[in-house]
């Protein structure tokens, strides 16, 4: 654990790209950029908790047209669970990066918001799947909480 900022070496391709919001994995092998964002939510489901090792995941929808690989697409490994959801991570450092559900609208990339390098113009607006969330976390942010997806019963 350290508070030292991660300093990834920007590639030539990255330097040439206009997109202002860059992100990537811990070791720097995987780099991407986004120049537009959709909604973001904190997901408490048991699969996200295990994939991120955390209390919950925070995912932001990026339109595919606004998502740009900078390097390392081949360094990304994927795991598809029995329910058909796929989560992708850096095969070198293990950073948990992307989510995809076959039931989600086409044309978006779900990105772990935490792997962007710096500030992004995104504010998560809900907690989802709190019905299967960990009992040891109580969000203190006052956002709406849903039992499952955003169209499910609102819990608080």
């Amino acid at each position: 654990m350290s508070a030292t900022p991660q300093a990834a070496e920007p590639s030539d391709r990255e330097a040439a790209l206009a997109g202002p919001y860059r992100g990537g994995c811990l070791c720097g092998a995987v780099r991407f950029a986004a120049d537009a964002f959709g909604g973001a939510a904190h997901c408490h489901c048991s699969m996200c908790r295990r994939f991120h090792g955390a209390a919950f995941a925070t995912l932001v929808s990026v339109p595919e047209a606004a998502f740009h690989w900078l390097q390392g697409e081949a360094d990304v490994a994927a795991y598809t669970a029995p329910n058909g959801t796929t989560r992708r991570f850096c095969r070198h450092c293990g950073s948990s990066l992307f989510f995809h559900s076959p039931r989600a609208p086409a044309g978006v990339v779900e990105v772990a918001l935490a792997v962007f390098d710096g500030p992004v113009p995104v504010t998560p607006s809900a907690h989802i799947f709190v019905g299967s969330g960990a009992g040891w976390i109580t969000p203190g942010d006052g956002l709406p909480q849903y039992e499952a997806g955003r169209d499910s019963r609102r819990v608080t």
Binding site: A3, H52, A81, F89, C93, A114, G135
Partner: protein, 143 residues
């Protein structure tokens, strides 16, 4: 108390009673787990036991010593030793949601993400306190 990675290949057991969770909000921990903070128990080495899948674990280590151990199949962060200390770092996301835990300590809040507004309760530090301080806070009897 048993835990497992997303695909179930890596499994482990914790003996004894551990209830106090630490969350680190620093930039490295955010990148590692892809979450606004990690969440972990500090478990004494003698209380930690692998049940399966230790050979599935990949490792990456930064020059500073910061480690990332993860399941090579599914990418879940998995337990790893806390330096040369007597403790193993155990990510609590791998434990059942019903585990009787509570968040006792938040660290590195001074470098948290701008959109991280969720920290509530527990002892809160803007930076990283000494390891001895953390161990003391995480292993104190609940008030």
């Amino acid at each position: 108390m048993q835990g497992e990675c997303l695909c179930g290949a890596v499994r482990f057991d914790i003996a004894g009673t551990y209830t106090r969770v630490i969350q680190c909000h620093c930039s490295l921990c955010r990148k590692q787990g892809g979450a606004l903070a990690n969440a972990a128990l500090f478990v004494r080495r003698e209380d930690f036991r692998w049940l399966a899948g230790e050979e599935k674990i990949s490792q990456w280590q930064r020059d500073s010593g910061f480690r990332s151990h993860f399941c090579a199949t599914c990418g879940s962060p998995v337990p790893n030793p806390l330096g040369t200390s007597a403790y193993v770092w155990v990510p609590t996301g791998l434990l059942p949601g019903t585990a009787p835990l509570s968040v006792a300590v938040h660290i590195c809040l001074g470098s948290k993400a701008a959109w991280d507004a969720t920290a509530a309760g527990g002892k809160q530090f803007q930076d990283m306190p000494s390891f001895a301080t953390l161990v003391s806070l995480l292993h104190a009897e609940p008030a």
